[in-house]
C-alpha cells in the first residue's frame, strides 16, 4: 500500500486550526497536563517537534493517544497556541499514516468504533459500541480480563434503568452517512 506523503507543519496547522510558530517553549502546557506523568513525550516537546517539522516523530509518540483532550494546555497557553488542537491533528495523522504508537491500539480501536457507531445510527448506541469495541480489542490483544472487565456492571446498570440494549437511532440515517462520506470518513 502506498503511504500518503509525509505530513508537514502546514498539515498540522490546517487540521488543528492553530499556529505552532507562536510557541516559545515556556512549558506551561506540560506543567498543567493531568496526563504528563504517563507520557513518553510532553506536550510542549510535541509542539517543538512540530515546529521543527518532525511530524513523523511527533505522531509516533504514545503521548498523542494518552492525552485526554481536557483542553487545559490550550486554555493556559500564554501565546494562545491551540496545543489540544495540535494533539488532535497528530492523532488524525497518526491513524492516516498508520504510525500510531503500538501500545495505544485499544484507544484508537475505541474511537474508530465510536465513529462507526455514529455513522450507522446517527446517535451513540452504547451497548452496541461496548460489544463491538470489546470484540475488536480482544482479537487484538487476547486479553480475557479486559474483555470481561465491565461485565459485572451490566446487571447493576439494568437495575437502575441505565442499560439500553438497542438505544436510539435518528430518522434520517442516509443524511448521516452522506455527511461522513463528504468528510472522507
Amino acid at each position: 500500500m502506498k503511504m500518503p506523503d509525509e505530513p508537514t507543519i502546514a498539515d498540522v496547522e490546517r487540521i488543528a486550526h492553530a499556529s505552532v510558530r507562536d510557541c516559545y517553549q515556556c512549558g506551561k502546557c506540560s506543567a498543567g497536563c493531568p496526563q504528563a506523568h504517563a507520557m513518553d513525550v510532553l506536550p510542549n516537546q510535541l509542539v517543538r517537534w512540530v515546529q521543527l517539522g518532525r511530524i513523523d516523530k511527533a505522531m509516533r509518540a504514545a503521548a498523542v493517544w494518552q492525552c485526554v483532550s481536557c483542553m487545559t494546555c490550550s486554555t493556559r497557553c500564554p501565546k494562545s497556541v491551540n496545543c489540544a488542537g495540535v494533539l488532535d491533528a497528530l492523532r488524525q495523522l497518526s491513524v492516516e499514516h498508520d504510525a500510531a504508537a503500538p501500545g495505544q491500539r485499544r484507544t484508537i480501536v475505541f474511537q474508530q468504533a465510536f465513529l462507526d457507531n455514529i455513522r450507522r445510527n446517527g446517535r451513540l448506541r452504547e451497548m452496541e459500541l461496548v460489544g463491538i469495541f470489546k470484540t475488536k480489542a480482544f482479537f487484538g490483544d487476547l486479553n480475557i480480563p479486559l474483555l470481561m472487565k465491565d461485565a459485572l456492571l451490566a446487571p447493576q446498570m439494568m437495575k437502575r434503568g441505565k442499560f439500553h440494549l438497542f438505544g436510539e437511532r435518528v430518522r434520517d440515517r442516509g443524511l448521516v452517512q452522506r455527511i461522513f462520506e463528504r468528510c472522507h470518513c
Binding site: S69, L115, V170, R178
Partner: protein
C-alpha cells in the same frame, strides 16, 4: 421561558438520570425545553481525534437544525456536546468559505449564530434570586465540592459565564440555597472523561485524585454538571476504591439534583435513586 434543547447521546443513554434531573428541575422553574428534532451525535472525542472536518460537520448539522427551527438559544447539558457545538459555531461564524462548505455537507444553511448554554448558564439566566424564592428546603446539610471538570469552562474565549481557572458560579448558586460548599483544589482538573471504556486505569487514577482532594477539604458530596464526570466519579467509585485501597463514599450529585431538592422535588423525580453511590 422556552429554550432549545440538545440532550446528546449520554442523556438519552446511561446518563438518563441527568436528563430526568434537568427536565424536572427546569420544569419546576417554569422553563420549557424544546428538543431539537432528529438531532445527531456531536461526534465527541472520536470525531476530533480522527477527522477534523467531521468534528465541525456533526455539530454544525445540529446548529443548522436549530437555525432552521428558530431556536436562537439552546441548552446542551453535556459539556462535551456544548463544547463541540460552541467550537463549530465559532469556526463557522468567523469563516465564510467554511460556512459555504459545511452548509453543503450538512444539507442545510448554517451560520453558527445559535447561542449554546450549559446548565449553569441556564440557572444564571433564571436568576439565583428567583430560584431562592421558589425553594422550599434549605440545603444546609450539604457541604459539596463543586466540580466543574475540564470542559465546562472551556474554551474560555467563548465561555465568559465564570472564571476558567477559579470558577465559583455553582458555589454562588448553592450558597444562596443554604449549602456550604467547600474550598478545594481540583475544580477544573480532568476526571479522564471518555477514557472510561478504552483505558479505565486513566480514569481511576485521575478520578481518585479528585475524590481524595474533595474529601480532604471536608466535602460530604460532590456536585457536577457533566455526565462523564458523574459516571467516572460515581459509577467508577467502587473500582477506584478497589484499585487504590481507598474508602471513598461520596455521593455525586448533578447541580440540578441539589437545586431540585431545594425546590422540594423528590429523589425519584430527579433520578438520584439511579446513582451508584447513594446517601445512607
Amino acid at each position: 421561558m422556552e429554550i432549545g434543547y440538545y440532550p446528546g447521546c449520554a442523556l438519552h443513554g446511561s446518563s438518563n438520570d441527568y436528563e430526568s434531573s434537568v427536565r424536572a428541575c427546569l420544569s419546576a422553574l417554569g422553563v420549557s425545553l424544546r428538543e431539537l428534532d432528529d438531532w445527531i451525535c456531536c461526534g465527541a472525542t472520536a470525531a476530533h481525534c480522527l477527522n477534523q472536518k467531521l468534528a465541525v460537520a456533526l455539530p454544525a448539522r445540529n446548529l443548522a437544525l436549530a437555525e432552521r427551527d428558530g431556536l436562537p438559544q439552546m441548552l446542551a447539558p453535556c459539556p462535551m456536546c456544548s463544547m463541540e457545538l460552541i467550537k463549530a459555531g465559532s469556526l463557522l461564524a468567523q469563516d465564510a468559505e467554511l460556512r459555504r462548505e459545511i452548509s453543503e455537507i450538512v444539507e442545510l444553511p448554517v451560520s453558527g449564530s445559535t447561542q449554546i448554554l450549559n446548565l449553569i448558564q441556564i440557572f444564571q439566566k433564571i436568576g439565583a434570586a428567583r430560584i431562592k424564592e421558589a425553594a422550599v428546603h434549605s440545603l444546609e446539610a450539604f457541604c459539596p465540592a463543586c466540580y466543574y471538570g475540564c470542559l465546562l469552562t472551556r474554551p474560555p474565549e467563548n465561555l465568559r459565564f465564570d472564571d476558567c481557572e477559579q470558577p465559583s458560579s455553582m458555589e454562588t448558586l448553592l450558597r444562596e440555597l443554604g449549602a456550604q460548599p467547600v474550598d478545594w483544589n481540583f475544580k477544573t482538573e480532568c476526571c479522564g472523561a471518555g477514557m472510561t471504556i478504552a483505558h479505565e486505569e486513566t480514569v481511576l487514577d485521575l478520578s481518585n485524585k479528585i475524590l481524595s482532594n474533595a474529601a480532604a477539604h471536608g466535602a460530604n458530596c460532590i456536585v457536577v454538571a457533566c455526565p462523564m464526570c458523574q459516571v467516572n466519579l460515581d459509577m467508577k467509585q467502587a473500582a477506584i476504591n478497589a484499585r487504590h485501597g481507598t474508602a471513598h463514599d461520596l455521593v455525586v450529585y448533578y447541580l440540578s439534583d441539589l437545586v431540585g431538592l431545594a425546590l422540594g422535588l423528590d429523589q425519584q423525580a430527579l433520578g438520584i435513586d439511579r446513582h451508584f453511590v447513594v446517601r445512607k
